[in-house]
Symmetry: D2
Subunit: 371 residues, 4 copies
Amino acid sequence: MPNQPNIPKPEAQSRRVGFAVVGLGELSAEELIPALRTSQHAYLAAVVTGELDKGRAFAKAAGLSDADAYTYEQFEELGQRDDVQAVYIVLPNNLHRDYAERAAKLGKHVLCEKPLADTTKDAEAIVKACKGAGVLLMAAYRIQYTPHHWAAKKAVAGGKLGSIKLLDSIHAQVEDDASAWRLSFKQAGGGPLVDVGIYCLNTMRFVTGLEPEWVYAAVHQPKGDTRFKEVEESMSVMLGFPGGLIANMLTSYGAVKTDTLRVLGEAGSVTLDPAFLYVGLDLELSDKAAKTTPQFAAYNQFTLEVDHFAECIQSGKTPYTPGEEGLQDHRIMDAIYQSARSGKRVELEKFSGQDVFRNTDNVPKHIKAQP
Amino acid sequence: MPNQPNIPKPEAQSRRVGFAVVGLGELSAEELIPALRTSQHAYLAAVVTGELDKGRAFAKAAGLSDADAYTYEQFEELGQRDDVQAVYIVLPNNLHRDYAERAAKLGKHVLCEKPLADTTKDAEAIVKACKGAGVLLMAAYRIQYTPHHWAAKKAVAGGKLGSIKLLDSIHAQVEDDASAWRLSFKQAGGGPLVDVGIYCLNTMRFVTGLEPEWVYAAVHQPKGDTRFKEVEESMSVMLGFPGGLIANMLTSYGAVKTDTLRVLGEAGSVTLDPAFLYVGLDLELSDKAAKTTPQFAAYNQFTLEVDHFAECIQSGKTPYTPGEEGLQDHRIMDAIYQSARSGKRVELEKFSGQDVFRNTDNVPKHIKAQP
Amino acid sequence: MPNQPNIPKPEAQSRRVGFAVVGLGELSAEELIPALRTSQHAYLAAVVTGELDKGRAFAKAAGLSDADAYTYEQFEELGQRDDVQAVYIVLPNNLHRDYAERAAKLGKHVLCEKPLADTTKDAEAIVKACKGAGVLLMAAYRIQYTPHHWAAKKAVAGGKLGSIKLLDSIHAQVEDDASAWRLSFKQAGGGPLVDVGIYCLNTMRFVTGLEPEWVYAAVHQPKGDTRFKEVEESMSVMLGFPGGLIANMLTSYGAVKTDTLRVLGEAGSVTLDPAFLYVGLDLELSDKAAKTTPQFAAYNQFTLEVDHFAECIQSGKTPYTPGEEGLQDHRIMDAIYQSARSGKRVELEKFSGQDVFRNTDNVPKHIKAQP
Amino acid sequence: MPNQPNIPKPEAQSRRVGFAVVGLGELSAEELIPALRTSQHAYLAAVVTGELDKGRAFAKAAGLSDADAYTYEQFEELGQRDDVQAVYIVLPNNLHRDYAERAAKLGKHVLCEKPLADTTKDAEAIVKACKGAGVLLMAAYRIQYTPHHWAAKKAVAGGKLGSIKLLDSIHAQVEDDASAWRLSFKQAGGGPLVDVGIYCLNTMRFVTGLEPEWVYAAVHQPKGDTRFKEVEESMSVMLGFPGGLIANMLTSYGAVKTDTLRVLGEAGSVTLDPAFLYVGLDLELSDKAAKTTPQFAAYNQFTLEVDHFAECIQSGKTPYTPGEEGLQDHRIMDAIYQSARSGKRVELEKFSGQDVFRNTDNVPKHIKAQP
């Protein structure tokens, strides 16, 4: 049936990379575990959670056995599991560092949800730990793995838009649950900026291949709203990129779901709206001759992501979004918060080691295959 | 035929207000003179231009006689024309003040293209001159006269969106002609901000009924591009409104035609895209229950505008966008340029006398009549 | 301003073809006379109407003199007007023949609104009269002159859609005025089929370059609705084209404005929706790689049409839609009504002489110039 | 995360209805088994297939044991499984009758994929067998269970469109595999009409609550295309409904995926495009005041369907689409094929017992809950 993702035949399981998913929240249950089930190069080998019962239920539902479920305390037992080559850390941000370091110690490769950590310092520690242990580290941004975002990037690079002049991106959604860990500064390290605004930031960097030189930001944190005692409700950010390119972004936990990206050039534009959803992305490339919406075979963003990391593990290549890529977002977000606090523009230092697409023609296979 | 504007029957010409159009550029030729021909309460009585031949050709084409064409030097002869009650100034910005003051002296009401002038000082002088002469002054913003923008305003005020959290607006287009008066600082008083960015600014003020408290801006003026020797190519502006509401806007003469407005609330959103075109506006109101695109009978924005001013002249009422409304945009644009120069946030002082919709329920008739 | 039609410079008036517009209804007033004013190769030289006062008012508004207005009785006086080379007949369908024959007798070229006549017999007489008098005859279908419909035709011919399998077209609108001549069988010769359904028919023939071999039709003419005493309210038509290609069409005077065309091929599709409006056409070409909406500079459909006929008169070439093209629609519509009456499928005979695009690469200049 | 279906809490498994899925093709693997996993009132209890290994793999993946997998020969062993209350038949059409009769004999309720059978006679036999055995029978059309199609139905019934005048529906897709059982007349009982065109037919009946009185059809079956030796490639069908309402439909296995439904009334219209996909349906309600796209919480069509049947089993109520509803489509499709063969219009007899929505206000719970 035509509205189904076209699932390529998986490799034999003996060849595939076994993953332990650490943390069984909504994202793991609804997206990551199903994605691993349709992966070509990866499979779910174990789950780690706070409640053993819950873990066993997930294991069983995924065709695993009781022995494949671990408590957080039992995490180190994964060291004896040769079939678990990688862990996927899906925990509150402030726990990323602990589990990444423990995984590195066990010699397990680390796929870590975005943001890489709760603070820049912890993000640096994660990068260092993985490097020291000789394991791969990848920040789990989705957008570097989808045909839609790649088509946007290629349109920007391809010259049809002429010089790029302006960027505009919004990512907002309503966070209603005052008790969510995302609203705890200690657990999240920030508000909507680090959770959803990071997509605007990371995607603008990805599609342009450029790093911001300065930022200016304003923040809104309404008094009397119990949800926003510790983190901001909304932020507006202006970013200066090389060559006079200016970008605006808006992010919020207080406004209806909106996720867009516009790139305006002198001869054409790129619009993604929605830009960051798991499904239903809509891309329009516009120039004088036509408005074009490229069509892609259906795909699962999480499957593409875990498959990429599995292939890197198989081949020893650096992932498209190594830890340094995630670290760079932390440095920029630090500058954004600093600007919001001071009311002043903040300059950024040069940084290297970010995503491996920067100024390369390093296009992933499944993207190249697209028409 | 159903795709034609529904033109209401005009009043008898003896009742209608005679206009002299001052300046016969593209806007006058393509939009204003045709609009006056389908007006209910106004009609074209005279034209004023630099070349008498051109003026006579326009007069004839519009069913007038040679005697209805004047040169700029003959402007004062309009004083003898009792049938000319109003002038519509459609000249480079730096000429607005001179003709507004001369018109006021003749006792003619003044409809003046946006921006009201080239500088705040001149804008103030125009307001003063008209007040002193007891003639009406209206800044010719279109957006306060269309059902689309009113539906947006009413949606924002109506409560269905919940609290408004974020605004985002873009108005960009390519200016290719290096010799255009719009690229002369002396004639225009600024670049894309004063010409097209002003729509973002003015419309955000209109739909929210709020005035910005501070602005922050960054500018791009590429060296070596002969078009941008005197004025900016692109600007990004952040605006702080009361209650923590933050707005972003982008404007440019170097990027493809783009004109959008988004208002994001906690329970819904308003999107205009295109937001500022003469025809083809598209409005979407979105909440949990539905995405809704109100349908309106076809209309001509310029006709609605001149009809409103004609009705004010007939009835003695203050126009919806008096000179003070145009003056306020000048004050804000001053602050924007100041911020761009200094790299610092600029606070705005309180100001009153702006558009007469501010915090009122003063909805124009033709809007109320909409379903 | 970017949302204005790009009007090419007109030729000197001495070179241009003078038109007399015969009939001053809404179409003439709102579309044809304005279109002639922005034409490159044509201009309005005279008007013919029932009321001399009305004619003179139109003449004056168009920059003509009282002497350029004629009553229907004075039609033959156009014979003395060398500057009137063509007449544009914009009258109830049953009057087309009379004025076409009279124009031909005066040696004037004939541009005739669609449908060519009220009956096939009259359409044949018009073709014969013009041929006999050596004047050009053109049926005023708009769709053969727009970049949108040409892009649709070229997409069908271009092979990217693969074999064409199915066509679907709808043209409906509400006719509310029970006294309209369009609802009089004597004056119109039929109902929505001959007025709006003819666009579906004619455009399907144009984009495919094929002629139907058989038709089947069903009709709805509600009893008790005073509007539909003489003509049908709604019709559904199935048409068989060569090669097994099947088309459906729906037309109505009783349903909300809807005008669409879909062409489905094995590898792609063409969708026009709206397909027949004067402005705001939307074309989407879809294949596996992309959905594409070609962008065109703004244009006036009626200007393109009269310019084409003027150029044919200047050069002696056959118009793209000669009388035979209009006659062929009459033959097909006869068969459609016959099928609706009998409840049986009706076979069509072969016919030649239709539009000059049929199986040629005869693409108009202004279309070729498109990107 | 907002782009996930909102999955209501399931009942305790002891309360839920156990299903055996009979046939493990793509639809079962990709849609039905996952749907049963997120069902409120149903769960997967067993699978039946031709290859035991395949069955066991599916069972394991779904958290079942080897003992829950059966071969077709072992079908009768389900009789001993009290926990299996229903079977879901997902087999080539010509096998529906056999398995429905065998299931009825075992006292199992029958949910049967559309079309109900390969012939009207077999469809009648299925209805009779289930009635005789006192088990429930439901035809697995999806569209009676989605908020989108219900909103369309309610818009038609609600009066805002005025009288309904015209219907137009298309369902086409490319069938490339010449060996597919869908292209075998023996196995499928017909071509695209019985497989995808049936959606047009069934949905037009659903949204109007009306039964066609006559049909006219034309067929295309290209010689030399090995795919279409036994069944048609394309069909066009005209249907006459009571009150003069006319409908057109097109269906094909030779044209790109297209699935649309339009309902045109005198005051408004309903458009579904896509109309029949598993995900991504787009509904627009249009009247003079607005174009409205109702928004619904994400849902899984198959989950809603199996949940409905499970609830009927729990409560003893007749399903919304009983066997008679499926049987009626067979009768109409027989008439369509007869018309295509004869080239003549075919009248239909009155029939009763179809879907239980016909002329009732019997709106399902999950639909009512929608805003």
